[in-house]
Symmetry: C2
Subunit: 185 residues, 2 copies
């Protein structure tokens, strides 16, 4: 049971509910807002091969008339399960420190894969993790800002504002989900 890389999970998430070729996946990384991932063939094709070796995805030759020859991939039950259990991992403060990118990636897939109830649960954990982390950052700022170079202080201030904004975003997103769940339960 090998670990799955971030790119691996991104691929699993994109393959949930649809079959795509390696080229399709590359195009998604080049042309959409998921540009933080590499679109290089040297990253994607080996990643797909690893997922296939672990039986998390399966590739079938697409001989459809409209498509050029090439394999399209779909999730196996094991792969879908791996995706679900990744999405259900608890949100830790550590995840915040290392970078919110992974958390937002998980969130983006979440509603589609796990449904709104789990998604709200994730947002609550997300908000709580920020609520735990933000005071630590602010304390650090108040202690050290005086002796930091100006641009370092400004950069830290920007980071603090980012977290504050994400907290507000999470709270308003929770409300959006709750409103909708009251309307159609």
């Amino acid at each position: 049971m090998n670990p799955i890389s971030q790119l691996g999970y991104a691929l699993l998430g994109l393959l949930h509910g649809q079959t795509l070729s390696g080229y399709d996946l590359r195009k998604i990384f080049t042309s959409t807002a998921m540009g933080s991932f590499s679109d290089s063939p040297g990253a994607i094709y080996p990643a797909l091969a690893r997922l296939e070796n672990q039986a998390l995805i399966e590739g079938t030759v697409a001989d459809s008339a409209s498509m050029r020859k090439g394999r399209v991939f779909h999730l196996t039950p094991t792969g879908a399960e791996a995706l679900r259990s990744w999405l259900q991992e608890p949100v830790t403060t550590d995840d915040m420190v290392r970078g919110v990118g992974v958390l937002m990636l998980r969130f983006a897939f979440m509603d589609h894969v796990l449904g709104p109830a789990h998604t709200v649960c994730f947002l609550r954990q997300f908000a709580e993790a920020i609520t735990a982390y933000l005071p630590r950052l602010e304390l650090y700022f108040s202690i050290n800002s005086a002796k930091m170079p100006r641009s370092a202080r400004l950069a830290l201030g920007c980071g603090i504002q980012e977290y504050a904004m994400r907290l507000k975003w999470a709270e308003s997103s929770i409300q959006e989900y709750e409103r909708e769940m009251r309307e159609k339960p």
Copy 2:
């Protein structure tokens, strides 16, 4: 002339104007707001060795009474030059897509290494890169949001808000610099 990794530049930046040991640098990554970097010895010591091999830093044995034995590093003129030229690289929209983390890292060191005039110049480029990228993101949102899963749409919305916030931050930071430069020119 080998390329320098992100961690390498972070180390060069931290060693600008001060001498630190490998352990000192590790502690900075564990305990301060630079937690996005790994504090593992297996990352830092090889990175220091690479920088030393490229003659960008120099390690000298610290036999000061208060310190345990170990080497402390300082920038060589070549290393200082490499740091400066990294900090002076133009800000591209591509940098935005791949992630603002590197840009903020550069900014944090900038005032101390290059002075306020260059820092304002960087902030202007930063603001302009966002001004170029944000409409693209918003266009993508307006076209695709209807057919995206709700949480994916919310995640994209959060990303857009983040960029908008950073733009405001950059503008107010520019003003802060300009105010100060009017006061003491």
